[in-house]
């Protein structure tokens, strides 16, 4: 079961069982952003307070598998209090961690500067999600929160 244990690291199961930042925020001032995984129906709903270029608060709703829920929870912990520039950089770094495989799955040809995106960004706990890349179908579960976040940021700014 080494494959499984690599996918479901303890910290992931912990975030799944006790997700951080669950809840809602009043809209407005918060921006609400929804993401779906069309293949499985997982849903992520984000409420974002962005103030002066900083993500001052964020809450999450929605439902899904352990990977999508843990990834959302970990994302929420990682971006809260960060500037938008920092959040975008972190997103790029996280997707770089995933996207070599995601893009392979979707047949994209370029993956040129992924290495660059990863450089100099500290992913911390998020690195626990690295085991997902061995399970290509689950990559979309892990990236859903981040795609929804970017969507929300685009709207908020």
């Amino acid at each position: 079961m080494s494959g499984l244990e690599d996918l479901y690291r303890e910290i992931i199961l912990d975030h799944y069982r006790a997700p951080r930042n669950r809840g809602e925020l009043p809209v407005p001032p918060a921006v609400k952003s929804e993401g779906f995984n069309p293949l499985c129906g997982d849903e992520v709903v984000l409420y974002l307070d962005v103030d002066d270029g900083v993500v001052t608060d964020l809450k999450i709703a929605g439902q899904g598998c352990s990977i999508s829920q843990a990834s959302t929870s970990m994302m929420s912990a990682a971006v809260k209090g960060k500037t938008i520039a920092e959040v975008r950089q972190l997103t790029r770094a996280f997707k770089a961690l995933m996207s070599i495989h995601e893009s392979k799955l979707e047949g994209e040809q370029d993956g040129s500067d992924l290495e660059d995106d990863l450089k100099g960004v500290r992913l911390g706990d998020l690195e626990a999600l690295q085991g997902v890349v061995k399970f290509p179908v689950r990559i979309k579960c892990a990236t859903l929160a981040w795609n929804t976040l970017i969507q929300g940021l685009d709207e908020a700014t």
Binding site: M1, G3, L4, L7, Y8, L13, R17, L39, C40, G41, D42, E43, Q63, G64, C65, S66, I67, Q69, F135, R138, C141
Partner: protein, 411 residues
């Protein structure tokens, strides 16, 4: 005592010898797409090695052979569903295209703003999205027949729903719940209200004896890949009067009689609705799949499925008690073999992932039935579905893998 010699059947499916993560493959996802017996693979291979050519166009020997085999496949499909004439069987890519053909050709030339179509809450997206597109484009009203807490259609309000409706689009058997609908009864009610009936037969033609004449429906859609046949081919059956009156759908070669710079006339049925080079090799594979099922006997197929579904429902209940929720009728005689369930506290995706570790293939997700999932109040379920190559050992493997999932995710 099974009505089917599963061990012998298994031997015909090379993929079942596959080993996944150290375990023999236990394939429980036939509702998504069935595996192919060697007889189907060989029929397709033989065509390519001996008689492949484009159909209906060549005077030479192999083109004649390919055309004759292609049309013989159509005749086999017609016979298998009890269609009165091969002219009424249109070869398309899949059931989805068949339903879209009805939406584009029949509905767009017969329905006007304010007309109503009745769907049910248990429809697959293939029988929902084409009507949503039409509704948006033409101002058509969609009405939804609800399901009861026993996972069957609620017939109480049916006549009201059908009042002045132009079409009832309904699945013969739900790919999520397993529920088998009473098509003759629904058709009678719809026809009495003046509505035509489209039956999504994707989950019934592969598993049940089909007698289209007894259904008395107007349109029937189904796919080869769910009945041991190849991907890339499916069919629409429709009454020839309807097909004759409908405008063509896709334009191109094969579907025409004559073309000038200013107009064209259409070919006769069924070719009027088949544009361009069809799925030739796939039609031949479908024929072989039908021969295979007919050799087993569809009565035996059904009896086997009832028996294994009964065993599966019993085993799931006995082993997981109140830790499992099964979405679908309990009576195996009232349902197909698709068994949707949720284990307490474990998401369907995660269940599927753990099961894969033991070589057990089940589907996880919304099963292309999001309106139904919303009615059920769950984002996803796991679904095990059984076919002729599954036996009680496969159910036991499922149960044992599910127990491991419980262990793995135990707090």
């Amino acid at each position: 005592m099974s009505s089917i010699d599963v061990a012998r059947v298994k031997a015909d499916f090379p993929i079942l010898k596959r080993v996944v993560n150290g375990h023999p493959l236990v394939f429980l996802d036939s509702a998504a797409s069935a595996q192919k017996p060697i007889q189907v693979l060989e029929a397709m291979d033989r065509l390519a090695r001996e008689s492949y050519a484009n159909v209906h166009r060549g005077v030479y020997t192999i083109a004649e052979e390919a055309s004759a085999k292609f049309e013989a496949s159509r005749a086999a499909v017609a016979r298998f569903i009890g269609a009165p004439s091969t002219r009424e069987v249109i070869f398309l890519r899949n059931a989805t295209e068949a339903i879209n053909l009805v939406a584009y050709s029949w509905a767009r030339s017969n329905l006007v703003e304010g007309d109503a179509i009745v769907l049910t809450e248990m429809e697959h997206h293939a029988n929902v999205v084409p009507w949503l597109m039409l509704a948006e484009e033409r101002g058509i009203e969609l009405r939804w027949a609800p399901i009861t807490s026993d996972f069957v259609l609620d017939l109480d309000g049916l006549d009201e729903l059908l009042h002045n409706a132009k079409l009832l689009a309904v699945t013969a058997s739900s790919n999520v719940l397993g529920t088998i609908n009473d098509i003759p009864l629904l058709v009678q009610a719809a026809h009495a209200a003046g509505a035509l009936v489209l039956v999504d037969a994707c989950q019934s033609v592969p598993h049940l004896v089909t007698d289209i004449t007894a259904w008395d429906a107007d349109f029937v859609a189904f796919s080869a890949h769910k009945m041991l046949g190849p991907s890339g081919i499916g069919a629409l059956w429709a009454r020839s009067e309807l097909l004759e009156a409908m405008p063509p759908f896709l334009g191109g070669g094969e579907m025409i009689r004559d073309v000038t710079k200013t107009g064209f006339t259409t070919n006769e049925l069924p070719w009027k609705f088949e544009a361009g080079t069809p799925a030739i090799t796939e039609a031949i594979g479908w024929h072989a799949a039908i021969d295979y099922l007919e050799d087993l006997g569809m009565d035996n197929v059904r009896a086997h499925e009832v028996s294994i579904t009964d065993y599966a429902l019993g085993a799931l209940e006995a082993n997981f008690e109140d830790r499992i929720t099964i979405y679908g009728p309990r009576d195996p005689a009232a349902r197909g073999s698709a068994v949707s369930f949720l284990l307490q506290e474990i998401h369907a995706h995660d269940v599927s992932q753990v099961l894969d570790e033991y070589g057990v293939c089940v589907r996880a997700g919304h099963h292309c039935a999001k309106p139904l999932m919303r009615v059920l109040g769950v984002p996803a379920t796991s679904r095990a579905s059984f076919y002729i190559y599954n036996d009680e050992d496969d159910v036991d493997a499922l149960v044992s893998a599910l127990k491991n999932a419980e262990k793995f995710f135990a707090i």
